[in-house]
């Protein structure tokens, strides 16, 4: 029997108090996610239960019990406190998926500081923008990534501590650097958790914007209430499950459902810190007897590309429940998973700003392949008419996906950017920026983004950020960045570029610019295609008309061109 039971019954008399009660939380109480994810589980008699099974690049495995993660997060918290870090200081996690990333996240929350996870493949420019904006006080990183921090250190006066978690002593530490070894540190039996309350800030995730620089999405400790219950009812995490969330904690799925939810539910979860390969993933599932698997459409499509035969080489009968997040899951992938694994991947929909799953398919509810599903109980969703900013009176029309902004894990603001936060609302509805339609039975069907943001393999990339970085290349005069359809990643980044006098468009220049963006921003932001053009379409006032380039890439009507400069 699934935890949710009947969706229809659950929506009738839903109250978030269900989650509060299960967690033993009463309004006004102290609520600290770090404590709930470790100490509370130990106090429930599960100290010896395996919390984390970690496999590294080399295939080496480490196992941690709930008591181990309690002690380790205490040790990291105590170390940070010893450096003088305190509540509401921003502490960045800039690491591969090593155990210190997961345990450090909890340690930061325990002392009341704000965890700021950043994807370890970010280049120095991406890092600089995000650390400057947050005025980050400390960063936990590895020796393989510290060179990026060193490059930008002069521009980060607020960054007081660079904590290297795997310093081997071979090279001397540099300015503001300090070594910390989890294995070499003494277990800390008692760490007084900071008495955070419901509205105390917890996590700061950065997300891309269409026109401005990335924005810090600020969450609070009360988000636990939503993350706990959505994981229980949608991912259906049960006591004996072995859970694998394939997302990196540099992104919100990796924290909400890769750290907070599974640990606060006391389940055993696995982490594979290695690059993608079909056989390696199936082997990992078989070896660890994974029963609940939460992954992403791009990964699922990559597995589909690997074919059906390879699946038969492994015993995957352990899989009980599958779910997907990050971008729309195409119906072919749902049908394929049902054929090869005997279970469909259930699509879940949410965003960095929502903090938890808001629209989803559920265990026991009819799966309509290709559909986003229905709003989670307690969450009111609608499809807004973009002209009237009112919900459509009847289903079937494509409009804007909007939500009543009242569930526990909603973002509280964009970090020091209340104007951008206010712009997310129309007529008191939170605008997701996505377009969809609803069918007669209340299922949502994704139709596309309502803005220029590029969703590549489930990660949002700002065209503005890529265009700005392109202009820093000596050969680039002008640039326009749009999405381009891609069978594997849904969309990829495409750049249109004009070159400065004295430079000639060539294959070598194309590769040089690709690598320039990869190192400066991230591999995700790297244009997978660069088209050199003589000029870019502009309005008469000189603004580049991205939408025309976008329409051409997607084979759509280019619409009104009356403001085009050369018309």
């Amino acid at each position: 029997m699934s935890h949710i039971g009947s969706y229809e019954t659950r929506i009738k008399d839903f109250d978030w108090a269900i989650s509060e009660k299960e967690l033993g939380y009463k309004p006004g109480d102290v609520i600290n996610i770090g404590w709930y994810a470790t100490d509370r589980i130990c106090q429930m008699g599960k100290a010896a239960k395996t919390a984390l099974i970690h496999e590294g690049f080399t295939g080496s495995e480490k196992r941690y019990t709930y008591n181990d993660i309690r002690l380790a997060s205490n040790a990291i918290g105590a170390f940070l406190r010893g450096l003088g870090l305190k509540d509401e200081d921003r502490v960045c996690l800039f690491m591969d998926r090593i155990p210190e990333l997961y345990l450090g996240f909890l340690g930061i929350l325990k002392i009341g500081a704000i965890a700021q996870p950043l994807f370890s493949a970010f280049g120095d420019e991406s890092l600089l923008v995000r650390l400057s904006n947050a005025e980050t006080s400390a960063i936990l990183t590895q020796k393989k990534h510290v060179f990026k921090v060193r490059k930008i250190l002069d521009k980060l006066p607020h960054l007081k501590h660079i904590i290297i978690v795997d310093h081997d002593g071979k090279a001397p530490l540099k300015e503001r650097e300090v070594a910390f070894s989890l294995e070499g540190s003494k277990p800390v039996e008692n760490l007084e958790c900071f008495p955070t309350k419901a509205e105390s800030p917890s996590v700061l995730h950065y997300t891309s914007g269409t026109t401005g620089m990335p924005k810090g999405v600020q969450h609070v400790h009360y988000s636990l209430i939503s993350q706990y219950l959505t994981a229980k009812w949608v991912l259906d995490l049960q006591e004996n499950d072995i859970y694998w969330c394939t997302a990196d904690p540099g992104w919100v799925t990796g924290t909400s459902y890769g750290i907070i939810a599974p640990f606060s539910l006391g389940v055993t979860q696995c982490v594979l810190d290695s690059g993608f390969s079909t056989e390696a993933w199936y082997r990992f599932i078989e070896k660890n007897r994974i029963s609940m698997w939460y992954s992403a459409p791009t990964a699922i499509r990559s597995l589909m590309k690997g074919g059906d035969e390879v699946v038969k080489k492994f015993d995957l009968s352990c899989l009980r429940h599958l779910a997907s997040v990050g971008e729309p899951l195409n119906s072919e992938a749902v049908v394929w998973s049902e054929r090869v694994f005997g279970k469909p991947f259930l699509d879940t929909y949410w965003q960095t700003e929502t903090g938890c799953i808001v629209i989803s398919n559920y265990p026991g509810m009819e799966v309509r392949p290709g559909s986003m599903g229905k709003p989670f109980p307690g969450i009111t969703g609608t499809i807004l008419d973009p002209i009237r900013n009112e919900p459509y009176a009847a289903p079937g029309k494509i409009g804007l996906v909007a939500l009543k902004f009242d569930w526990p894990s909603r973002m509280r603001t964009y970090w020091r950017n209340p104007e951008a936060f206010q712009k997310k609302f129309r007529n008191n509805w939170y605008m997701t920026g996505d377009r969809a339609k609803m069918d007669q039975d209340g299922y949502y069907w994704f139709a596309g983004r309502d803005d220029d943001i590029i969703n590549t393999a489930g990660h949002l990339v700002s065209p503005f950020e890529v265009e700005s970085a392109l202009l820093e290349h000596p050969a680039v005069a002008e640039s326009a960045v749009v999405s381009k359809p891609d069978p594997l990643n849904l969309e990829v980044v495409k750049a249109f570029v004009t070159v400065k006098p004295g430079f000639v468009a060539s294959k070598d220049l194309d590769l040089e610019i690709m690598n320039f963006i990869r190192k400066k921003l991230s591999p995700l932001a790297m244009p997978q295609e660069i088209e050199f053009v003589d000029s870019l379409p502009k309005t008469r006032s000189g603004k580049i008309m991205r939408r025309i380039l976008h329409a051409k890439e997607w084979g759509e009507d280019i619409g009104d061109t009356s403001t085009l400069e050369n018309e």
């Binding site: 493949a121 020796k143 060179f147 290695s274 390969s277 590309k305 590769l511 690598n515 997978q528």
Partner: protein, 84 residues
């Protein structure tokens, strides 16, 4: 073949490793070892296509085929041979 492998190794070292990284060899796991991610594979593929004047179809450019210098060299040889 050795010249081909050396050129690939040199490119990967220059573009994907930092100065103080552990040196890699022809057998080092590049994709599964986390040195080159799936997105960065696109620029590595582009380098090979530019340098050797070949086209590697997307269905051949798999993480498995790009997982070491040795494997990449075998793939490139296949297409260089076809070109000739």
């Amino acid at each position: 073949m050795e010249g081909l492998k050396d050129a690939i190794l040199q490119y990967v070292t220059k573009e994907y490793l930092e100065d103080d990284s552990e040196p890699i060899d022809f057998e080092t796991a590049l994709i599964s070892g986390g040195i080159v991610d799936s997105f960065s594979m696109v620029s590595l593929k582009r380098f090979l296509e530019n340098k050797y004047g070949i086209q590697i179809p997307d269905d051949k450019a798999t993480p498995e085929a790009f997982d070491s210098v040795n494997k990449i060299a075998t793939l490139v040889e296949e297409f260089v041979g076809k070109k000739g």
